[in-house]
């Protein structure tokens, strides 16, 4: 305590430190101020709020002496807000929206997309065109109607009938097209393409007679087909006169007869995603089976990996084994290979036709487990692969925790005449679980949602027959969610997927809570040792 006060004083009153701190803050604030307008311009409001909160927080923490201890934590806090809290909030928010295929744009974007759709009204003229451009970037069009009449059109000026060589229009060439109009020179095909970005945005003529370029050959009196009317919050189809009113509960513009315009837009739909989940036949059908297997899978993985990891840690903890460091290093290898590669390798090894494991077994005992077609063997296969992936982690943490158990406990036990097993059950395991227990729980929570292993190994297969939605025998809740929301559900139903995610989170959180209470038991035991 005393030491900290000293250092605090030493730092606080150093002038260069204060200047450095102020300079640092100035840089951060300047950066924030520079980027804020851009973010506001892009309407990314969540990020705007987040940035303001983080920047203000940093300023307060670094300027107010009483928040001194927080300075140490501020990088972590800033990262946590951005990388953990923000995605969480966003997931919860998404769960209450209809964000899915067909509803990924905002209402404004939908209006923008729709109002870009053009059509040629009945009786609307279309012309062949030649473009002219002045040196300072003004444009004009020479138009030829289907019946051969010719016109000149400028943006914002009425379209005039005109003939080559007449007035300020240049003489015609062999094709009958004037060489220049006023001070504007004719563009050849190459130049037209160069200036197309300008030309395609221009409207020639004055309303109501306005022409737009439709293609390299054709300019036409195109009209926007859909016009947004803010007064009745509706989109009017100019071609048919049909009115599509905004339905903000559905997130679509809908006509009287129920026809909806695509695309729809994102809206807040309350608990509809949750209602849909609870009413879905997916819950009535195989859900319980999937849920039980998920728990079995997660618990089984933790148990088997911990048992093997602890066994290896104990064996190689014995100093009398030669080369144990080398062996230990080799045993950690599965932990260092990216799991998505090793899972695929295992999938190949266990292939019933060409896999090394199966062909070898076939050769020697004449039978090999049907890893991919039998529900039971598929489950065992997944557990075996996950055992291979997971034991090095357990071995590492057990090795570390073993060092922390005092030698004299064992000596005392030996004097009391305890055997090897007795020492293990009464000293090693309880003391180990005190430090390793929380890690086991986090391993359980991790495997509860271990999408990689299931999906890459056999995609949840083999399929269960006769279910209301497609599901496999080794599907766990996450892969099942994935099937529901993305694979069979309809391309990308993000709102629904977020709702299921929240439910899964609640399940995992409940289980974890009880597990933590349970592990307190071990602490009591360790106190008595």
């Amino acid at each position: 305590m005393r030491r900290r006060t000293q250092t605090q004083q030493g730092f606080t009153y150093s002038l260069s430190a204060i200047l450095f701190r102020l300079f640092g803050l100035a840089v951060i604030d300047a950066f924030a101020l520079w980027i804020l307008p851009q973010m506001i311009h892009d309407r990314v409001w969540y990020l705007v709020v987040l940035l303001v909160v983080i920047t203000l927080g940093i300023n307060i923490i670094f300027l107010k002496e009483e928040y001194y201890p927080l300075r140490w934590m501020s990088p972590g806090l800033a990262l946590m807000i951005l990388m953990v809290v923000y995605p969480l909030v966003f997931t919860v928010y998404t769960a209450f929206t209809n964000y899915s295929d067909g509803h990924i744009l905002t209402k404004q974007q939908v209006i923008q997309v729709l109002s870009q759709r053009l059509y040629l009204p009945e009786g609307g003229e279309s012309y062949r065109w030649t473009a002219y451009r002045s040196e300072d970037g003004r444009y004009a069009l020479w138009l030829v109607a289907p019946d051969g009449r010719t016109f000149v059109a400028f943006p914002g000026e009425p379209i005039q009938p005109a003939d080559p060589g007449q007035g300020d229009i240049g003489p015609a060439d062999e094709q009958g097209t004037p060489t220049h109009i006023r001070d504007l020179r004719r563009l050849d095909r190459i130049q037209v393409i160069r200036y197309l970005p300008d030309l395609e945005k221009l409207e020639f003529g004055t309303p109501p007679h306005v022409l737009k370029i439709r293609s390299l050959d054709e300019a036409a009196a195109l009209q926007p087909r859909y016009v947004y009317d803010p007064q009745q919050d509706a989109i009017v189809d100019q071609q048919t006169g049909k009115v599509y009113r905004a339905d903000d509960r559905r997130g679509s513009f809908v006509a009287e007869d129920g026809e909806a315009l695509t695309p729809g837009y994102q809206v807040f739909i309350g608990a509809a995603n949750f209602q849909r989940l609870f009413r879905s036949p997916a819950l009535r059908g195989p859900f319980l089976k999937v849920f039980l297997w998920t728990i079995l899978f997660a618990a089984g993985t933790v148990l088997t990996t911990f048992a093997l990891g602890l066994f290896l840690a104990l064996v190689y903890n014995d100093p009398s084994i030669r080369g144990r460091k080398v062996i230990r290093s080799f045993l950690i290898v599965p932990y260092t290979v990216p799991s998505f590669i090793s899972i695929l390798v295992w999938r190949g090894l266990m292939n019933p036709h060409i896999g090394v494991i199966n062909t070898t077994l076939e050769k020697f005992i004449g039978w090999a487990p049907p890893w991919f077609s039998s529900p039971t063997w598929a489950k065992i296969g997944v557990l075996l692969v996950n055992l291979w992936l997971g034991y090095p982690y357990m071995m590492l943490i057990s090795t570390g925790a073993l060092q922390a158990i005092p030698e004299d406990l064992y000596e005392a036990a030996e004097i009391d005449g305890a055997g090897m097993w007795q020492k293990f059950w009464t000293i090693t395991l309880p003391l180990l679980l005190v430090s390793v227990g929380p890690l086991l729980i986090s391993s359980f929570a991790f495997n509860f949602n271990n999408w990689n292993v299931i999906y890459l190994f056999n995609r949840g297969g083999p399929p269960m027959p006769g279910t209301p939605t497609p599901v496999g025998h080794t599907d766990i809740l996450v892969t099942y969610t994935y099937r529901l929301a993305f694979a069979s559900g309809g391309g990308g139903d993000y709102g629904y997927a977020s709702a299921i995610t929240i439910i899964i989170f609640l399940i995992v959180a409940t289980i974890t809570y009880f597990q933590f209470r349970y592990t307190r038991m071990w602490e009591e035991i360790s106190e008595n040792v």
């Binding site: 430190a17 640092g24 950066f31 980027i35 851009q38 311009h41 892009d42 940035l51 983080i54 920047t55 940093i58 300075r71 501020s74 990088p75 800033a78 990262l79 951005l82 295929d101 067909g102 990924i104 744009l105 905002t106 997309v113 870009q116 040196e135 970037g137 130049q191 393409i193 160069r194 197309l196 970005p197 395609e200 439709r214 293609s215 390299l216 050959d217 879905s280 036949p281 292939n351 019933p352 036709h353 060409i354 991919f372 077609s373 297969g461 083999p462 399929p463 027959p465 006769g466 939605t469 497609p470 496999g472 099937r483 529901l484 694979a487 069979s488 559900g489 309809g490 391309g491 990308g492």
Partner: protein, 431 residues
């Protein structure tokens, strides 16, 4: 003292990096449009210099997303376009499997490309989300394969310029099967004879649970996935997975497995290896496997899909160029495609980069590779893979039904009827 500075610096770095990530998400500020040159007083030179068109820096730029096969070629084409017209075109390489998903995120954020290169079955999803602009091919339309244009048509509107078509065909080993079987009953017979004689492990090989490679068999028995209306649009209300033809095909598959002519748990790779090593005599596969089959040195011939009670035909996939609804330069993008990419020279370049039947007729008609031509023949009656969003609900249930038959877990009729029920529920939105 020192430690303190490090901490402060760390804070700055962390916050700066956070802001940079945030910045990367924000749209780049539009580059200021070149200010029109202010009219400067003319210098009193005696001879009036004719106003030469000053080469202005290009104001617009086209961005194209292409996969690793297409990107180098597009790069070349883009460079030539820039040289000729002075419009900058940037080609960004994005994995084929990622283009659709990334486009869905990037386009509404205003950061997407102007043009993407993709497959026609993305159409439904992208159009429903309002991300694609219609394409007008103008006079060039006649130079494209009509069925490829049909594949890129959604709600009677063309949304893409096709450049290649692909479909599976029937491969057989002429050393083992002298003549291509005409019907699936014949395939069964030939397979049984070959297996009995011990010449092969499996006469005909099909990997487990893949609807795409099962579809040609299903159509041969008169089955279908979605019925079509009179304009050739797929009708999501008319699901044919449990139609009598589809069930007949499922029963044939069941018989093949029961009699040991087809084995469960064969995957795509194993099936191809068997064919390449002469352990299997017949297989259905696509142009993507051509390279490995050629390299294996096995003798092969490519034929049309055998028929049974109806004409057996595969799904066809069409790849093409699509224009973003959020592009600032749609007409320029369209002009780039119709005027520059849709030429014989550049279409040949695209063909050579990835030899599959071209959708551009002047190239398609001159392909002298007999295998590619055979694929074209096998695909002459092909159904375009349905691009309607409902199709995404079909694959999994349908594939599971086929797997269940392979693994003999369910009888074929129940499996296909249940799959159809699952799909109908998913389409109805009940799940």
């Amino acid at each position: 003292m020192k430690q303190r500075h490090i901490w402060t610096l760390l804070v700055i770095l962390v916050v700066a990096s956070l802001l940079v990530t945030a910045c990367a998400k924000a749209t780049p500020t539009p580059t200021p449009t070149p200010v029109p040159p202010t009219p400067t007083p003319k210098p009193p030179t005696p001879t009036p210099v004719p106003p030469t068109p000053t080469p202005q820096p290009p104001a617009a730029k086209l961005v194209i997303w292409a996969d690793e096969n297409r990107a180098p070629i597009m790069e070349e084409i883009a460079k030539a376009f820039t040289e000729k017209y002075g419009v900058e075109v940037e080609v960004q390489q994005v994995g084929f499997g990622d283009i659709r998903d990334q486009f869905k995120v990037a386009a509404p954020a205003g950061e997407g490309p102007d043009i993407i290169i993709g497959a026609h079955d993305w159409l439904g999803e992208l159009v429903v989300n309002g991300l694609l602009a219609p394409v007008d091919l103008g006079a060039k339309k006649e130079k494209f394969l009509p069925s490829a244009l049909q594949a890129f048509t959604y709600n009677s509107q063309l949304y893409g310029m096709p450049y290649l078509t692909e479909n599976v065909a029937f491969f057989y080993n002429p050393d083992l099967v002298p003549e291509a079987p005409k019907t699936w009953t014949e395939v069964t017979k030939v397979a049984a004879e070959l297996e009995k004689a011990g010449k092969v492990k499996q006469g005909y090989v099909l990997h487990q649970g893949d609807p795409y490679h099962f579809y040609p068999i299903m159509t041969a028995f008169g089955g279908y996935v979605f019925g079509k209306d009179k304009d050739g649009n797929y009708n999501p209300q008319d699901l044919g997975i449990d139609s009598p033809g589809s069930i007949a095909a499922a029963k044939w598959l069941d018989m093949m497995v029961k009699e040991g002519h087809l084995k469960p748990d064969v995957d795509w790779d194993t099936a191809h290896t068997m064919f390449e090593q002469g352990d299997a005599a017949m297989i259905i596969t696509g142009p993507w496997a051509l390279k490995r089959i050629r390299e294996s040195g096995v003798h092969y011939k490519i034929a049309e899909i055998p028929d049974e009670t109806a004409d057996g035909h595969p799904f066809s996939g069409v790849h093409g160029f699509m224009i973003s609804a959020f592009s600032e330069n749609k007409l320029l993008a369209q002009t780039f495609l119709t005027e520059f990419v849709a030429t014989e020279e550049n279409m040949w370049k695209l063909f050579n980069a990835d030899p599959r039947p071209s959708a551009f007729l002047p190239v398609r008609e001159k392909i002298d590779d007999p295998d590619i031509a055979a694929f074209g023949l096998a695909g002459k009656n092909a159904d375009p893979m349905p691009a309607i969003p409902e199709m995404s609900k079909v694959w999994e249930a349908w594939g599971n039904a086929i797997t269940l038959i392979f693994q003999q877990q369910e009888d074929p009729e129940t499996a296909f009827k249940n799959a159809a029920e699952q799909i109908r529920q998913a389409i109805a939105g009940g799940q």
